[in-house]
């Protein structure tokens, strides 16, 4: 990547991490400039915040993705959405984020700028402020361009009871949109398959979705199906509540292109990551209402009721079009072919 003839400042160098002028310029001209907000003051060691609610949600997450930019997002927007979404599915309103950036020596400045810009846009859209941060530069070969870590604080309505322990037999399972778009889009971009199509990552803040159904009494639990996809979320639920998670294959929304790519590659889209979807468990009574609310939102147009919680062994069962009942097993390290 690095080219000796190019002017040095077009690439991140170790000097950008040594605490001197280069570092100050990197922070001031890039991070502080794009992420500017009333709380962010690069001069202070810590930020002082006042919260309007006594109960808060607090979370942290790290981000790596290859490639750093993909249709529908960048590692920058992902770092915002990931933490915002973790807060949102906990029933909180995301407010403040911290940011750590680990940048690899040789990273093109221009690309980093694009990434930070998309991060700023994502934060703006999600209504969150990055209030504190840090950058490090790691020697070439010790990072994959850039890694981010974000922590976030959200405020929560007092007494809101969400959790797997709230789930009861007969509850319905909703998803807010098509599954596996992010995983497929990133994979296609990474492997440079050169496939034409309009498939975009679903990466987005899910706060509008989670917030919209918070007032429903029958809302039990929400989760954003990231790594391991819907199948992994359902497996975790069934393992914890020791009941059957029963899904209807025909009801699960899958983007046509995701379906055809998976068909060829031999993947199951239900195991692929989403970055802007919500799985919600809602009482049967409230399920139709939840569905209507979601469908009235831009982000929830493809929302569906895809299954229900049943008495039975702790398995995830996928009811097929023909009425067969297939297991969705926990993701193996690396799925090996089984059919003789």
């Amino acid at each position: 990547m690095s080219n000796e003839n190019e002017p040095k400042e077009q690439y991140i160098s170790l000097a950008h991490g040594n605490g001197g002028r280069y570092m100050r310029e990197l922070i001031d001209n890039l991070f502080a400039q794009y992420l500017a907000n009333p709380f962010l003051n690069t001069q202070n060691d810590a930020v002082t915040l006042t919260l309007e609610q006594p109960e808060i949600a607090f979370t942290t997450d790290g981000f790596t993705v290859n490639p750093l930019e993909f249709p529908g997002g960048t590692i920058g927007s992902l770092a915002i959405h990931g933490t915002v979404n973790d807060l949102a599915v906990a029933g909180a309103t995301p407010k403040y984020l911290s940011l750590n950036a680990f940048i690899e020596e040789g990273m093109p400045f221009e690309q980093l700028e694009r990434i930070v810009k998309s991060m700023a846009k994502a934060a703006d859209e999600a209504g969150v402020f990055i209030v504190t941060g840090d950058t490090k530069v790691v020697p070439k070969g010790e990072g994959a361009g850039v890694f981010f870590a974000t922590s976030g604080i959200g405020i929560k309505k007092t007494g809101l009871k969400l959790g797997m322990e709230q789930i009861k037999t007969g509850d319905k399972i909703l998803v807010s949109g098509t599954l596996g778009d992010h995983g497929t889009a990133v994979m296609l971009a990474r492997e440079q398959f050169g496939l034409k199509g309009d498939l975009q990552s679903d990466a987005a803040s899910v706060f509008p979705l989670t917030h919209s159904i918070l007032s429903l009494d029958g809302l039990r639990f929400m989760r954003d199906p990231t790594r391991g996809g819907l199948a992994s979320v359902c497996n975790e639920i069934s393992r914890v509540i020791k009941k059957e998670v029963h899904l209807y294959q025909t009801e699960i929304p899958i983007h046509e292109q995701v379906d055809s790519v998976c068909e060829i590659l031999g993947y199951d889209p239900l195991y692929l990551a989403c970055e802007g979807r919500v799985v919600a468990i809602v009482s049967e009574d409230n399920s139709q209402q939840a569905l209507e609310i979601w469908r009235s939102l831009d982000a929830g147009q493809d929302a569906r009721i895809i299954g229900e919680i049943r008495e039975g062994n702790a398995n995830v069962v996928l009811e097929t079009e023909l009425g067969g009942e297939r297991f969705l097993e926990e993701l193996e390290d690396d799925p090996l072919p089984r059919i003789c």
Binding site: L265, L322, G324, C340
Partner: protein
């Protein structure tokens, strides 16, 4: 045949005055549920012996009093004149001191934990019962549940041993006066016939008719229900019939439209369907002979002989062209046939007059359905009507499938009539073992002391119902045989359901878990089957076992399937293999032969770059351009791509390259079509000597790498893609090449290791042409070769193989 396994104890000199001696015999083997006690009773009476006989949890104990001559005649009669369904072994004979009896009686059954327990399989309807069912003077004229001690259901109705009526699913049908008289009359052939029934007191038929809008009419009564069902069949309808071990979906086998409709509704586009023929008493093959070839060759007479055996299996046999509906076996010559096996089927076939398609009433890959409500619900979209009865089926037993290869029966699926398959081991196990088999075609095996029992076919373990039946069968076997496993064995593949189950089972029961590599278990099948007939285990001879199948996880974490193992069970050394290639698409590869074809072409760079690719897009074996290009990039970047040496996939590749289908609705279809093409070429030239057919008889090139003798498949591509020969000739040449390659590998290993016995195992050897050609050639080359006969050597035998391989691995450790 019966064998004496026990020894006669030395007799003490007895005073002359005491002419009557008391002998106690313990008789084991298949002696319950087959009319054995009445037989003993009659025989004892015949030779004027006094004493008693009783069932004792699986074995029969009899005390007989008389002189030595009488006793000797009695013993010979047990061994030579026993009822046809019985397989008795005289376990022990001892002289005892006992008060003298004045008559011979049948005593009440006793329970004993230690006794040898045997569960009889389900049998056909015997000729005596068929005579009765056809005779208007008889009480059971046209009664669909007629049976006697010599026939009828067993395994599927037994709740527990001893095998007595209260322990069967007929316990809810109290015997009427007439039946009770037969049941208690020691000389009646229904004496202690546990499933005994008549129209007065026994199970009854009902028929649910669904009209176009799925509204039901329910008809109860044997004749009325049958009449409706036959009428529906005549109108080309599809009926779900509750039989002995589960439901069948049936329709007119000569009505192409009905068969197509069944395929459409069952979403089973081309997997062959079984056909049932009438078995009209003493001329039972008449209808079958009309539809299937009946030439005089020995093999065919063996096929006919097996089809009419009391187990009533499905036999693969060549059908005459143009008589049965073509959609029954599209693209194939053989059809799976069976004879009516229960009185109900007998009546259906007799009244209908034509053969019927009889395919398992289930969703693809799941165990056959057994419960009325479940069947009504799950087959609702397939069947136009349900012909069923109220005798509960306690556990499924699907139809057994057999193909005659090289003059012997080869079991492809064990079920009704065979299962539970009880066999004796040539050694004694230190502790009871449960082996859970593989993922596909699953069966389980339970072994203890010197016994092993294989369950009936359970199916593919990827559905809720299969896994439920899987767990139930394990519980049932442990309970019925009173065995608690102290060790559990599974495949080394971590993703099999059976492996997960075994891991949990081991934790819950706190017993050790042993993992056996897939193909070593396949080698274990050969080894085990071969030594089953030996009463003691003494084998110093080495083996070379070729285990050729589609997929099994290898010790090196690649996918194996073209391997040869040298040595002995528990000590196998992998010595032969196939040039590895990279296969993309995970489990999809097994159902999409184009992936195997592309894998070989890409590996050898025959196609790959864009320019070459575009030349091949017109070919039938490649998918759409966009899909192809995606798959190629995924293959190149090793996305969901794994190294494989599978022979099964090479057969898949060949079938795709010959245009026999890019994709298939079930794994194995490509190779089946390929074999048919090959057989067609060969049968055209039936009398010709192969050497006169201008066929290349050379093997594929072999090379040595890391002590492995590897065959290079590259030249097959030239053969298959060339346009010089017909598809049939290319298919034939392909089979010859593969077979000769096995011979060449064997010879190469012989030059290194010296003499050995050869075994064949794995799904690839279900190919009749291939196996027969290989066995013939091995004989010519003076090799001693063996293909399993008593146990399935596809994945249905894995559990059995695991028992053997597990045992010897432990011995070695």
């Amino acid at each position: 045949m019966a064998h004496i396994t026990g020894t006669v104890k030395k007799r003490k000199a007895m005073p002359e005055t005491l002419q009557r001696k008391s002998y106690e015999l313990v008789i084991t083997g298949q002696v319950q549920g087959v009319g054995f006690r009445p037989f003993i009773y009659r025989t004892a009476k015949k030779y004027h012996l006094k004493g008693w006989v009783k069932n004792c949890s699986g074995e029969v104990i009899t005390l007989v009093q008389g002189d030595e001559h009488q006793f000797e005649s009695f013993k010979q009669a047990i061994l030579n004149q026993h009822p046809p369904l019985a397989i008795p072994f005289i376990h022990s004979i001892k002289l005892v001191k006992e008060e003298l009896f004045d008559r011979f009686v049948i005593k009440k059954s006793a329970t004993s934990e230690q006794a040898q327990r045997h569960i009889p399989p389900d049998f056909f309807t015997c000729n005596d019962c068929l005579d009765e069912i056809s005779n208007p003077q008889e009480r059971r004229y046209r009664y669909p549940f007629i049976n006697c001690t010599q026939c009828g259901p067993r395994y599927t109705i037994i709740k527990d041993l001893p095998y007595d009526r209260p322990n069967t699913s007929l316990s809810s049908f109290p015997l009427c006066h007439s039946c009770n008289k037969e049941y208690t009359n020691t000389v009646d052939r229904r004496f202690h016939a546990q499933p005994l029934a008549c129209a007065e007191c026994g199970p009854e038929l009902s028929f649910i008719q669904l009209n176009d809008i799925k509204a039901e009419t329910n008809i109860i009564g044997n004749e009325a229900a049958l009449l409706k069902a036959i009428d529906a069949l005549k109108h080309g309808k599809i009926i779900a019939v509750k039989g002995v071990g589960g439901y069948h979906l049936i329709c007119d086998a000569t009505n192409e439209q009905a068969v197509r409709e069944l395929r459409k509704r069952k979403h089973r586009p081309d997997k062959p369907l079984a056909v049932m023929f009438s078995a009209s008493g003493y001329n039972e093959l008449e209808q079958l002979n009309h539809y299937c070839h009946s030439d005089k060759s020995n093999t065919l007479s063996l096929e006919k002989k097996r089809v009419s055996s009391p187990q009533r299996p499905i036999i693969l046999i060549n059908a005459k062209k143009g008589l049965l509906a073509p959609s029954i076996n599209p693209g194939l010559n053989e059809v799976g046939v069976m004879l009516a096996y229960s009185p109900l089927h007998y009546l259906i076939l007799k009244d209908f007059g034509l053969p019927i398609v009889a395919t398992s009433g289930n969703l693809s890959g799941e165990p056959v359905l057994t419960d009325n409500q479940q069947a009504e619900q799950r087959l609702n979209n397939i069947a136009d009507g349900f012909l069923q009865h109220n005798r509960p089926i306690l556990r499924p037993a699907d139809d057994t499938v057999i193909r005659i290869i090289h003059g012997k029966q080869r079991l492809f699926r064990i079920g009704r009539g065979f299962a539970p398959l009880e066999l004796n081991l040539p050694f004694n196990l230190k502790k009871p073992v449960l082996a859970v088999g593989g993922q596909m075609k699953n069966t389980v095996a339970l072994a203890w002391d010197n016994r092993v029992v294989i369950s009936p076919h359970i199916g593919e373990l990827d559905s809720k119902r299969s896994t439920k039946v899987f767990a139930q069968v394990i519980d049932d076997l442990c309970h019925l045989y009173r065995v608690s496993p102290k060790q559990v064995i599974c495949d080394a593949h971590p993703g099999y359901y059976s492996s997960h189950f075994a891991e949990n089972y081991s934790n819950e029961h706190n017993i050790p878990l042993v993992k056996v590599q897939h193909h070593k278990a396949h080698a274990g099948i050969v080894y085990g089957d071969f030594f089953l007939k030996e009463s003691t285990f003494q084998d110093k001879k080495a083996w070379l076992v070729f285990t050729w199948d589609g997929t099994g996880l290898g010790d090196d974490q690649t996918i194996w399937g073209g391997e040869g193992f040298y040595g002995q069970a528990g000590h196998w050394q992998r010595v032969t293999s196939v040039k590895p290639f990279y296969l993309q698409g995970g489990d999809k590869a097994a159902k999409e032969p184009w992936r195997s074809a592309c894998a070989l072409l890409w590996e050898n760079k025959i196609i790959g770059n864009e320019e070459q690719n575009s030349q091949h897009f017109s070919n039938e074996y490649l998918p759409e351009k966009e899909s192809y290009s995606l798959a190629f990039h995924a293959w190149k970047n090793r996305i969901n791509t794994i190294e494989s040496s599978s022979m099964g996939r090479i057969f898949d590749a060949a079938s795709a390259l010959l245009g026999l289908g890019k994709t298939s609705s079930f794994e194995g279809r490509g190779p089946m079509l390929l074999e048919t093409k090959c057989q067609n070429y060969f049968s055209d030239k039936s009398q010709a000597n192969i050497s006169q057919l201008n066929i290349d008889l050379s093997a594929l090139p072999l090379y040595k790498k890391n002590e492995l003798i590897i065959s290079d498949w590259s030249e097959l591509l030239t053969l298959l893609m060339g346009d010089k020969h017909s598809v049939e000739k290319k298919a034939f040449q392909f089979h010859i090449k593969i077979a000769e390659t096995l011979i060449a590998q064997a010879q190469k290993i012989k030059s290194i290791k010296g003499d050995f016995r050869i075994g064949l195992s794995g799904g690839v050897f279900q190919n009749k042409f291939l196996s027969e050609y290989i066995l013939k050639r091995l004989e010519e080359e003076n090799f001693d070769a063996f293909l399993p006969e008593q146990v399935p050597y596809n994945d249905a035998g894995l559990a059995f193989g695991q028992i053997f391989e597990g045992h010897f691995q432990e011995e070695k450790a």
